[in-house]
């Protein structure tokens, strides 16, 4: 059977992040606003808000770690994790101190097997001083790509409540499918 290869159906990389084709944030960041890419950092927009990024996994894999791209100021704590398509939390780091300016902070999580399907990457911070590299596309395009958010969601809840985007902000985060990052 001839199957046209797509960006989603290509073999995935070792880290699937906000800028990866497997994440719906890819479209929002690429097309949302000219110049909205992840090469600028800014303070986290709302303390305790969680951002949920749709993730499409096309082949069985295992999530070993998660990553966040810290900006020039670190502060307080974050929580990063994965949810299934129904909003049930699968794994999360728990409250973790943001450390290492201008670095990719790698957080260990419980190894979690992922079957093909829809998931969500989730990220929340407890303050608006810490900075993260991010994209700032139009919120309507964020919504059209299925991105969601939830206020008062630190630490990440056991069950997500997906709200429509209000903050034009996509943190650069990812899930590592290898043990060494």
């Amino acid at each position: 059977m001839g199957i046209q290869k797509t960006l989603i159906d290509r073999p995935r990389g070792t880290i699937i992040g906000s800028a990866s084709p497997q994440c719906a944030a890819y479209d929002a960041a690429r097309f949302g606003v000219a110049g909205a890419s992840y090469n600028v950092d800014s303070p986290y927009p709302v303390a305790n808000k969680a951002f949920y990024l749709p993730l499409d996994i096309a082949e069985p894999c295992t999530a070993f770690k998660m990553v966040v791209s810290n900006g020039v100021t670190v502060s307080g704590n974050f929580d990063i994790g994965l949810y299934d398509q129904n909003g049930t939390r699968l794994v999360n780091s728990g409250s973790t101190a943001q450390t290492g300016i201008s670095t990719l902070q790698v957080v260990d999580i419980t190894d979690t097997a992922l079957e093909p399907g829809h998931y969500w990457m989730a990220f929340a911070m407890d303050n608006i001083t810490g900075r993260v590299y991010r994209a700032v596309p139009d919120i309507n395009i964020m919504r059209a790509c299925g991105l969601a958010e939830q206020v008062t969601a630190f630490t990440l809840p056991a069950t997500a409540t997906f709200g429509i985007p209000v903050s034009a902000y996509i943190p650069f985060v990812g899930v590592a499918l290898v043990t060494t990052v």
């Binding site: 159906d9 719906a24 399907g117």
Partner: protein
Amino acid sequence: MDSPRSFVVPRFVHTWSRWSTMEELSLMGYATLASGAFPAANEARFYPIRLPWPYPLKRFFVANGGTVSGNIDVGIYTPNGGKIFTKGSTAQAGVNVFQYLSVSPDIILDPGTYYLAIACSSATATFMRSQAGSIEYVKQAGELRQATAFALPASLTPVVITAPYRPLFGITSTESGF
């Protein structure tokens, strides 16, 4: 890997996604999304999309702008202009929100190229859209129009566009939410 082990389709396919000709326009120049009036009353606009997998079409959505007026119609057509589905005349409702329109009966779109179609009875109605960019770029992106096409017709007789207008709208495999 020569073929995927499973199809995991995106929840949304729309005029601002990689499955539309925004892929091409992103390299040619386009403007920020903003509320703007529909180009002409009773006109229909068509935007190519490319689906590399079977797609379960559950709903359409339209990003309304700051003024709602009249009625809208949305649909999907083959590249030859044959109608697959149109919603029918529906009152535009909800300022600055996403308006969802259900699909019945269920439709599974085969992999292939389609036109997303939108028509509006009012030139006062607004949508979130991009209107800039050279008209020549937009033509290269395959956008077309048809005058006096509300509600959307059984088959298309499209003509070249005369002014760029790319509203944010599309299809979704979700049945509710968002």
